[in-house]
Structures are given as C-alpha cells and as structure tokens.
C-alpha cells in the first residue's frame, strides 16, 4: 500500500524494507535530509567513517562476509569522489554495494554549484549501474531496483544520486514487486544450458589430467555453491585450485586442494594448469595474473568455463565449452548428470596424474628459509594461523595489497567461503583495515584480522578511529618490512635494483599511533617473542595495531615472471631474481 512521505524518508524506508541493518557513511550539506530521517528511527544503524573510501571498503567487507549487499551513504561532490576507489574495487571483484550519494538540488545541477560534481558521469564506468533521481515518483522504484541489480547476476556496485530537493519532496512510497522491476532489459541468465553441461560432463568423464580452476564466482553464488563444489570434487576425484578471490570455497585441508594458482600460486597448481587435458573453470575469469602469457597458457587442454557474465566468456581465453549461468545451479546440474552416468570417481584413470602432482608438490614451492634472529613474514603468518586455530571464535582475514597479501593467501589456510576478504581485481592498498571494520560490524563476536603492510595500512589508517568509536576489536597485523616490498621486489626483478621511492623514509611509531587513537599498540621484532605477542593481541578485547618488524628484503615466491608461461615459475631457492627475466620479459611487465 502506498504511503505519503518525503524522499529522505523513502530512502530509510526502502533500506528498512530491504532489511539493511547497517550502513557506512559520512554526512554533508546535500545529505542532511537523509541523515535527519535516519536520526528519527532505529532500525538502520549508521557507522560513521573517517573517509568515504573507508565507507566503501567497509561495505565491501560487510558484503563479502555476509553475502548481503553493503550500503554506503555519502554527500555530494567530495563525498562522492572519495567513494570512487571503493566502487571501482567492488566492480572488479563483483561485490554487491548500493551507494547513495547526495546531490545538489536539481535546479542547481550543471551550474558548478557548491559541492557539485557529475556523480553519475564520474561513476558510470565504475558501477554496474547508476541513477540520477530526477523526480520523487521515480525514487521508490529506483531504490529497490538498485538492490536487485547490485545483488543479482554478476553482483556489483550501484550508485543512486539523489538531489537535495528530491530528498525534501513528498511522494507516494511503495515497494514494487520484484517481477515488475527491470524485467524487460535486465534478465541475468542463471540456469546453464543443459546440452553444454552434458558436453562438459562427457569431457570430464574422459579426462586423464583434469583440474578444477575455481574463482570468486563460487563464493558469490552463495554457501551452497561451495558445498556443491566440494561434492563434485569428491564425486570426480579431481584436483582443485582457486584464484585469490575464490579461497575458502574449497577447504585448504582437503587432500584434493592444490593451493592457489597464478603469479604467486603454488608450483603444483600452476604446473597442473599448464599440463592438464580438461580444465573446468568455475566462476573465474582468466585474469592476466592467472594466465600469464596467453599464447602459452595451458596449451593442450579442453576448457570448460562456467560464468554468470556472458561478457567474461572468450574475453581473454577462447574456451571450448562455455556455460553461462549461476555457479551454484550449474554445479547442481553437473552433480546430477555425473551421478546419472557413474557412481565412482575416476580414481584409476587419473592415478598417473596424481602421481605427477605429488612430484610437483614435493618441490615444496612455498618453503622459505626460516631464521631465529629475524622474523620471516611467511613464518609470522604461519604462527598467526596456528594461534587462530586454537580460538573458539570464527576467524575472518582481510588484507591490504602487496607481498603480505600474497603471503597471507599462501600461508593462511581457509576452509570456509566468505572468511577471506582481499582486493583482488583492483589491488587497492588501504582496503584491509576498513574491510576488517565492515566484517566486524557484521560479526561482532568474531576474530577479524587485517594482515597488513606498513605502507598500505597508512592509506586508510584513520579508520582505526571508527573501530575505536564503535568498539570493534579488529586486529591489524602489520608485516613491517619498511619497504613497499612488492614494488621493491619488482625493481629487483626488472629495474636493476634501483629503488625509486619504494621505501618508507619516515614511518610512524605504530605503538604510539595506536595509543593516540585509543587502541592498543604492540611491537615485536624477535622470533622468540612472536607467539606471546600474538597471544597478547588475540587476548586483548579491543582494536590492536600490531607492528611486526620482519625481514626487509624477503621475496614473495614462487612467482611466474612476466613474459613467461606457467611452467617457467621462479622457485624459492633461486638466489638472485634480478637475472631471471630477459630483455623481452622486462618490456612486458
């Protein structure tokens, strides 16, 4: 039934109707009517951030860890432009966000009014869809349509730009029926083509060197998709690898798990991708960090690709069996059809393949030389992982971007989906701390840890203040190498070790910084003291900034250098990475 209310009230009512309990935002002139409407209710709880980029990453962490859309509210002009990085991040990693931006009154649009910017113009290419609301009559439909678009098909960020006069205007609020929304031009295909799925199963039944290559799409398809992936892996007996975004969909503790693939993936995963005869890509998109050199990518395999986004099919790699559909639905069908054909996994037929895989595993590509004088970053993550396993709490990990991110992916192991949040597609330094705050908002009793680098964490450090304000006990575990380690590594690899601006000349005292924010600071630089320091961090009931001083010049290995195929991966015992890439490879990076 329609009800009369202002535009600002409609925003809050629509959020309530969508079941949105938390939004992340920052007020400003153009957004005040919405803030006023929010003040007069208590269903929707607002988390006041310190920078709008923080709000977007919090919403991403919230969304990724719950499967629900993350909601952001910012003001016009600088509020909207500050949100752009997070929107782009969400677009690249397919995270459902609804971002409400306030706009100057309609009559002032285009006049270069105070705090005016062309929000829909600026965000057009970094959102799945966006709207400028020009009339109060359109507002209820747009609000609900935005949620539909953000959460269905391939998820992504949606912006609703609402001018201040529309927030004040009075109109009829209604909640449209889902079927009446965008049925004409927006119809994501969720059911995979049956004939294509049968062809895929035929190929899988004949495979001798198969591999499942899974991605973030499995996580986006919901927890059942992860369950079904496990079941299909068990039915078939095939090895499973995953992209950075897909970690946790398949349990790292399962013997069929090969570790992550790609530029810093394990030797066994990359070699198996290169040598396989049937590749079953489920919800991954052949990103360039995965494929390496396209013309040398898995040269002899028949490729099956399941993706909900038709534009992802044949975009980078030509596949033999494309299946457009929701990963979960397709996995269900695959299981059903596989079962109708056979009751046994292909253990015997692929025994040789597993023998080969074991040889690759024996190389120990994640090994590193430990030290008893200096903390090795990989070891610090292993110790953190062991310590968290003893906790009764649910554990969520976020990361910043750099070497520490890759080490976290390699050495922290995930057995469940939605417990690993990282900026994969955009690689946004500054993602991890606010994302951790967002996760903690959604899971107040969980243990939420941001595995950070000292450079990245300074990009959104101010959100520690948000964590303190809302008593969110996030733990920021900084692997402090006093370097932009990943940049330094590439400079060693490609630029004759000329370290142009890749080190931190003046770092804050992180312990004092934590204390200044009202959080706890811990510092550790001795291997023998690390376990106790980690325990102190985990025991503290409040936000902690933990400064772990680690080996400064450790390289993140294994690594597939640019210009090289998967089987020319650099392994950890390589002494000098600077000699590995030839002239041609240097140009390609």
């Amino acid at each position: 039934m329609a009800e009369k209310m202002t535009g600002a009230e409609m925003v809050i009512q629509a959020l309530t109707d969508q079941g949105v309990e938390h939004i992340f935002g920052y007020p400003g002139g153009a957004a005040l009517p919405i803030y006023d409407a929010m003040f007069q209710q208590d269903f929707v709880k607002h988390i006041l951030v310190r920078h709008e980029q923080g709000a977007t990453h919090m919403a991403e962490g919230y969304a990724r860890s719950t499967g629900k859309p993350g909601v952001v509210l910012v003001t016009s002009g600088p509020g909207a432009t500050n949100a752009v990085t997070g929107l782009t991040d969400a677009l690249l990693d397919s995270i459902p966000l609804v971002c409400i931006t306030a706009q100057v009154p309609t009559t002032l649009i285009g006049t270069d009014a105070f705090q005016e910017c062309d929000t829909v113009g600026i965000t057009r290419s970094c959102t799945k869809h966006n709207y400028l609301v020009k009339s109060i009559e359109d507002l209820p439909r747009i609000l609900h349509e935005a949620f539909l678009i953000a959460t269905t098909g391939r998820p992504g960020p949606v912006v609703i730009d609402i001018p201040k006069d529309i927030q004040f205007a009075v109109g009829e609020y209604f909640r449209p029926e889902a079927e009446t929304l965008r049925h004409q031009s927006y119809r994501p295909q969720v059911d995979g083509d049956l004939a294509a799925i049968e062809t895929a199963i035929d190929l899988m039944l004949k495979a001798e060197r198969p591999i499942f290559y899974t991605g973030g799409g499995v996580i986006n398809a919901g927890p059942e998709a992860s369950e079904n992936l496990r079941e299909l892996a068990e039915l078939t007996g095939f090895p499973v690898t995953s992209t950075l975004m897909g970690l946790g969909a398949f349990p790292a503790s399962n013997p069929q798990w090969m570790g992550m693939l790609g530029m810093h993936g394990t030797y066994e995963a990359n070699m198996a991708m290169h040598d396989c005869d049937v590749m079953i890509n489920i919800g991954a998109r052949f990103d360039d960090r995965i494929t390496g050199r396209i013309d040398a990518f898995s040269p002899n395999s028949t490729k099956i690709h399941v993706d909900i986004d038709p534009a992802s099919i044949n975009k980078v790699v030509q596949v033999h069996v494309p299946i457009i559909g929701d990963c979960n639905r397709v996995l269900e069908e695959m299981i059903r059809i596989w079962r109708s054909r056979t009751n046994a996994p292909r253990t015997e037929a692929i025994a040789g393949w597993w023998t080969q895989i074991q040889k690759w595993r024996d190389v120990g590509s994640l090994n590193f030389k430990n030290s008893d004088t200096v903390i090795k970053p990989q070891w610090a993550i292993q110790r953190l992982y062991e310590a968290t396993r003893k906790q009764s709490k649910e554990v969520f990990i976020t990361t910043e971007v750099g070497q520490h991110q890759m080490w976290a992916a390699q050495h922290f192991h995930f057995d469940q989906p939605n417990h690993w949040m990282t900026s994969g597609g955009l690689g946004t330094m500054g993602y991890g701390l606010p994302a951790a705050v967002g996760v903690q908002v959604a899971h107040p009793d969980a243990l939420v840890i941001d595995i950070a680098g000292e450079a990245s964490v300074q990009m959104t450090m101010q959100e520690l203040s948000t964590a303190v304000q809302y008593r969110l006990p996030v733990k920021i575990f900084i692997l402090n190498n006093e370097r932009m380690g990943m940049v330094r590594q590439w400079q060693d690899l490609l630029h004759g070790s000329r370290y142009a601006h890749s080190y931190s000349e003046s770092l804050p005292d992180f312990v004092k910084l934590a204390e200044a924010y009202g959080a706890k600071g811990i510092k550790c630089d001795t291997p023998a003291e690390l376990d106790a320091a980690i325990a102190a961090m985990l025991d503290y009931d409040g936000p902690v900034l933990f400064d772990v001083l680690v080996e400064k010049d450790e390289n993140c290995l294994p690594m597939i250098p640019s210009g090289k195929p998967h089987n020319e991966i650099i392994l950890p015992d390589t002494a000098n990475i600077g000699d590995i890439i030839d002239e041609k490879g240097r140009q390609l990076v």
Binding site: S125, S185, G496, G563
Partner: protein, 184 residues
C-alpha cells in the same frame, strides 16, 4: 641496453593480433532514458572499441525505446565482446549484429552544399539528377542537395561535387534494418 631506456611495451602480456578486422553494423534496442547514449559511447571508449558511425533516435514512443545503429570495425573476437558488453548494460534490451545475421538494408542521408556558377552549375545539376539528389535550397550561386542511399553512393556523389564547388557536408550516419518479415 638498459631496459629502462627502452620503450615499455605495456604493463601486461601482449600477444600479436592474428585475426583481421571486419566492418559490422549493430542494431541496439535501448530504453530511452537520460544518459543512455553516454553509457553506450563510454563503453566503447573505456574498452578501446572504435565507432565508425552512430545513429540514435527514439523509435517507439509509448515504450520509450530507442534504436541505436552503430558501425564498428573490429576482429571477430572483439565483435563478440562488444555485443556481450553492450548487452550487459542494464538499459540495453537487445543487440543484433546485422552484418552477421544475414541480409539487411543500410541507408544514410546527407545534406550537401555546393557553390557554383555557369558551366559548373549545369554540370552539378546534371550529376544531382543522376544521383536522385533533391534540391532543398538554392540561391543564384549555391545549392543544398539532399541525398539518401547507401554510404558508398553518398561518398561517390561527394567526390564528384569536390571539383565543382563543394562547400560542406552533413551526414546522418547509418540507419539499418534486416530484410524480410522478421522484426528485432
């Protein structure tokens, strides 16, 4: 030679393009809502696709639908991407690759201004007649012709007018429709 003194190829793994480019005419049915053209054009520029010709107008007023006819030159692989990316835009209903889907008609309209006196004027009129160009404006020293037809016909007419006093040309861009009883 120092690697850093060489032109950096690109940030990523580039492979040589082996497919040949083709010219294709796409017909795109969209909601006629604000910003739709910016979305379509923005998609082309963001993804590095080239537009040869673009024509837009509302075609079904009650349903607020517009038809965009866009001509692109791209490899078969990129053409598939263009179509998929266009279909991904929320207000896009359907995309048809007319060139790939069978026989279709293409028409364009041009207004062409030619100045001339004496013999040139007579020759201009004779050619205009041969091309069925309509005179839509005339003064003692100038004509404006309206020509419709395939782009190639308009190209030829313009080439012929060049030495006879061609002043300027405006063209609508292509309108295209498939042959036969089937609608889009």
């Amino acid at each position: 030679m120092n690697a850093h003194l060489q032109p950096t190829g690109s940030a990523y793994f580039l492979t040589q393009e082996t497919q040949l480019s083709e010219r294709h005419t796409l017909s795109v049915l969209v909601d006629n809502e604000p910003g739709i053209l910016a979305r379509v054009v923005g998609l082309f520029s963001a993804r590095g696709f080239n537009i040869e010709s673009l024509t837009v107008s509302e075609t079904e007023h009650d349903k607020r639908l517009s038809r965009i006819t866009v001509v692109v030159i791209a490899t078969p692989k990129v053409l598939v991407q263009i179509k998929a990316q266009l279909e991904r835009l929320v207000p896009v209903h359907r995309v048809h690759d007319l060139t790939a889907e069978g026989a279709y008609l293409e028409r364009e309209l041009a207004l062409i201004k030619v100045n001339g006196t004496g013999d040139h004027r007579a020759e201009t009129l004779r050619l205009a007649d041969a091309f069925r160009a309509q005179i839509v404006d005339a003064t003692v020293e100038s004509f404006v012709f309206e020509v419709t037809g395939k782009p190639s016909k308009i190209d030829s007419f313009i080439a012929l007018m060049q030495p006879l006093g061609l002043v300027e040309v405006v063209r609508t861009g292509l309108a295209a429709i498939n042959r036969g009883p089937e609608g889009m």
